[in-house]
């Protein structure tokens, strides 16, 4: 299982090279990896059906109790199958869809990183590991949405998705840390066991809100739904994969996974119910006003996500079972319809649904698949979608919360879904053949094979829903505490209330669709919300953020070195001085000049004189030389007090600094005295106070001993453990080697940074 996740990451490194080698065949070849993973998870089916979980733990930082712990139970199994199964289709579809594209290798790289991180999210048992993978999905999604990076809209959409989901990611981190410290563990299974400890924590409201913020942003719940339709800038396979069947369901997964932990908190389920209801109706209405193929589907996805969340929020065994079934139903028809949208766009060059019709004669196979998926979406028996919808309606009828408002919202939403199903599944293929930019013909195998598989599955699960029975029962067990009732999936539930509503909705929905042009006018006033909606708030927020950043940069980092130094020293003096002031009684200075030798005194005098000289001299060269005197003087002090290493380094550094300064001065204008009297006075005051504070701290530090000094340890063990007599060097390369490694890395980056700055300046000339 660990291997499954990491094989995808490992493979992603090689895709750009492999893509160059295999060219057109790469799509088919690459899909073998997700296919074999699908088969691997399929082989675990019997284990899942017995209600067992498969766990794997791999120590990462044992000292901090931080390990890669993975577990596979019913919920993870469902998601893993979706990720790998749909992933297989997406990979060979993209190979054909993006054939000959310049950046195909790069595309596959991000796609596999995404697949790996998504699999990581649904398999990890440690919430910190989950968080890492969660962020990786946002990141890889950024690259996938912004794939057409030369288009401004793509970049905007990618950044928007990253910022919105990134906000959720931060919320998740905070929530996870708070909850983790309340329970004392970061393992989800432990959280489920000790749920009472967790929900009696004083921070439970904050934890719940933050977790939900993470889930809602990721799963595009109102008011964060706006990023999802914008993300349709991505190539179609990406939309089908990330933005309908997998990534957006990560939030759903999180809610489902943590449901047994939080389900007793009213805040948890009321918020979820409200968000679910609002999102489904908002998505449905917005979808009705769209004409672009992918956009209609995107808003429908928003609706579906709201529906699943709504089901999960009810928290009964029945509704959670319905949610699981609906996740599968939705993934099957929505991924298929997205892929068909891509195929239609690929073959006709037309994206507007109003201008597409009658493709049945030219693309017969695609038309049949689209019809099946459309009917499944509308919930027509005997397709799988019908079962999903029946379960959905029945769960809604059983719940007490928000009754009867919820029934109305749910019915209206279903109405719009039927409408959208007609619009996307039927409209492009039936009626009179319309003229399109490209002459339409049947899509190649790679483009229709995937939707075909999904359509067959939709029919198959619809006719034999029993195959899912034991799976659903086993999974629900882990997701709902105290569940005793078994859920049986069946095509025929009898003439009950749900069936009645379902059929009415179907009939009215079709009528509604036929009168689309007339009814659209009813929604005209809604256009106002577009300019006032949450996306506007997002834009305003970004604008404010940018202007604040700009203003503070202008003040604090305006390009003049003297202000940088000024602010840094001022902050240091202020903060240190504040602490010293608060603890003045504990700090004492002891003056003891008795053992100062005459030559030491002279040396110090020389250093002070040279320092003063460097501030008043009018020639740059002389100022540098007097600074050099200061440096050499300090190195002599090092020699006197027995630190030859320091002294040596100091001398070489001083020499190089003189060279550096002279080279830099070459570029400066002749020396001019521009500083006003006031600024000189200000700088002098700051310099004096910084010096005074430092002197005080050094003197005070002589007397304060917080912990036992570590120097004797180094002195004793330098030769014994590290085989070196030069303690300074042994500390640098052995005892504190990790620090040194960090320092040389910083040094290297700083060096390259300076080089780049110099080159940039040259470029301007």
């Amino acid at each position: 299982m660990v291997l499954a996740v990491f094989s995808l990451f490992l493979f992603s490194f090689f895709t750009p090279f492999l893509c160059r080698v295999f060219q057109k065949k790469s799509g088919w070849l690459f899909s073998l990896l997700p296919l074999s993973l699908t088969l691997y998870f399929l082989s675990q089916t019997s284990l899942i059906l017995q209600g067992q979980t498969l766990t794997h733990t791999f120590e990462w930082v044992p000292l901090l109790n931080f390990s890669f712990s993975f577990h596979l139970d019913g919920l993870s199994y469902l998601f893993a199958m979706l990720i790998c199964g749909i992933g297989t289709v997406i990979v060979f579809y993209s190979g054909s869809y993006l054939e000959g594209d310049r950046y195909l290798g790069r595309f596959f790289c991000s796609l596999f990183v995404f697949m790996g991180s998504m699999l990581g999210v649904v398999l990890s048992n440690n919430v910190l590991v989950l968080f890492v993978f969660w962020e990786l999905t946002s990141l890889s999604s950024y690259f996938l949405i912004g794939y057409n990076h030369e288009k401004k809209e793509s970049r905007y959409a990618a950044l928007q998705a990253l910022l919105v989901t990134g906000l959720g990611g931060l919320a998740l981190l905070v929530a996870v840390l708070m909850a983790g410290s309340a329970v004392g563990s970061f393992e989800i299974t432990v959280w489920v066991e000790r749920w009472q400890t967790l929900i009696s924590s004083p921070y439970i409201s904050a934890i719940v809100i933050l977790v939900l913020l993470a889930a809602f942003t990721k799963s595009a719940q109102f008011p964060f739904h706006f990023w999802l339709p914008n993300a349709m800038q991505a190539p179609t396979p990406v939309s089908a994969y990330l933005h309908s069947s997998t990534m957006v369901k990560a939030g759903i997964y999180l809610v489902a996974r943590l449901n047994p932990v939080f389900s007793e908190t009213p805040l948890w389920f009321t918020t979820i119910e409200i968000a679910g209801l609002t999102t489904m109706i908002v998505g449905a209405v917005l979808s009705f006003t769209q004409n672009q193929y992918k956009l209609v589907l995107a808003y429908m996805t928003v609706t579906a996500l709201g529906m699943i969340l709504f089901l999960l929020g009810m928290g009964t065994a029945y509704s959670v079972a319905a949610a699981l079934v609906f996740i599968l139903v939705h993934a099957l028809y929505k991924a298929a319809l997205f892929l068909i949208a891509g195929a239609v766009d690929h073959e006709t060059g037309e994206k507007d649904l109003r201008k597409l019709s009658g493709l049945r004669s030219k693309m017969p196979l695609t038309a049949i698949i689209a019809l099946v998926c459309g009917l499944s979406m509308a919930g027509v028996p005997p397709l799988f979608g019908f079962i999903g919808k029946e379960l959905f309606l029945e769960s809604t009828l059983k719940t007490q919360l928000f009754y009867p408002l919820n029934i109305w919202v749910v019915s209206f939403t279903s109405l719009f879904i039927v409408c959208a199903a007609c619009f996307t599944g039927l409209k492009p293929f039936f009626g009179k053949l319309a003229v399109t930019p490209k002459k339409p013909h049947e899509a190649p195998l790679a483009l229709y094979l995937g939707p075909l598989i999904f359509a067959v599955l939709s029919v198959g699960f619809g006719l034999y829903p029993k195959v899912l029975d034991s799976f659903v029962t086993a999974s629900v067990h882990t997701l709902v505490r105290s569940s005793s009732d078994h859920v049986h999936l069946a095509l025929w539930h009898g003439f009950n209330q749900a069936f009645f509503i379902s059929m009415t909705v179907l009939a009215v929905g079709v009528a509604f669709y036929l009168l689309r042009d007339v009814s659209l006018k009813l929604f005209k006033p809604l256009a106002i919300f577009k300019s006032l909606g949450p996306e506007k708030a997002y834009q305003i927020f970004l604008k404010i953020l940018n202007s604040v950043a700009k203003t503070q940069t202008l003040i604090l980092q305006n390009g003049f070195l003297r202000y940088y130094v000024f602010f840094i020293i001022l902050t240091a003096v202020f903060l240190c001085g504040w602490v010293v002031f608060l603890h003045q009684e504990t700090l004492q200075m002891t003056f003891n000049f008795s053992d100062i030798k005459f030559h030491e005194f002279l040396l110090v005098l020389l250093i002070i004189a040279a320092t003063l000289a460097s501030t008043v001299l009018r020639s740059r060269i002389s100022a540098i030389i007097s600074l050099g005197v200061v440096g050499y003087g300090v190195s002599v002090i090092f020699v006197i007090f027995g630190a030859p290493d320091l002294a040596m380094t100091q001398i070489v550094i001083e020499t190089l600094i003189v060279v550096l300064f002279i080279l830099v001065f070459y570029h400066l204008k002749p020396f001019q005295n521009l500083s006003s009297k006031g600024s000189k006075l200000r700088d002098a005051l700051l310099a004096l106070s910084a010096g005074a504070l430092m002197t005080f701290l050094v003197l005070a530090a002589q007397d304060v001993q917080y912990a036992e000094s570590i120097s004797p340890y180094f002195e004793q063990n330098s030769w014994l453990l590290a085989h070196g007599r030069n303690v300074v060097n042994v500390i640098l390369v052995d005892f504190r080697a990790l620090d040194t490694l960090g320092e040389i890395t910083v040094l290297a980056i700083a060096g390259l940074g300076i080089f780049i700055l110099l080159k940039l300046k040259l470029g301007k000339k």
Partner: protein
């Protein structure tokens, strides 16, 4: 800079400085010195040369592009830390080889030496890179 005295002196000083820098590097574990100061001394040898002659000549003498040196140095330090990992110790633990030969007497070679070589190369690379770039602008 056209100074015959400086140029002539540089020819000798350069080798002296380089030998001294290697001495500092190798002896640094027991005597004063080490990779950092060694790298600085080596850098000053090339910088002296660049001032006395010109940057192009100095680059030729260095043979390797400074940026590459930085990379090699970082990798050397990193890999010296990975040697103990292979031996199932934690990252950057000192691993020592003790041997005896007729010519050199007792030999002690440890992974910290390679680490120090990495530091030496990074410091040399960074210093030379910055000062060469500045010199080229003059």
């Amino acid at each position: 800079m056209h100074s015959i005295i400086l140029r002539t002196a540089t020819v000798f000083l350069k080798y002296l400085l380089l030998v001294f820098s290697v001495y500092l590097l190798l002896g640094g574990h027991n005597e004063p010195g080490g990779g950092f100061v060694g790298g600085l001394v080596a850098a000053s040898a090339f910088i002296l040369f660049a001032i006395a002659y010109n940057v192009e000549e100095a680059r030729k003498r260095l043979r390797i592009e400074p940026a590459v040196l930085i990379g090699i140095g970082l990798l050397t330090a990193l890999f010296s830390g990975l040697i103990p990992v292979i031996l199932n110790k934690s990252f950057l633990t000192g691993v020592w080889f003790h041997g005896h030969s007729e010519i050199f007497g007792d030999i002690h070679i440890g992974s910290p030496l390679f680490f120090d070589v990495g530091v030496y190369l990074v410091v040399l690379g960074v210093t030379v890179k910055i000062i060469f770039s500045l010199l080229e602008e003059v």
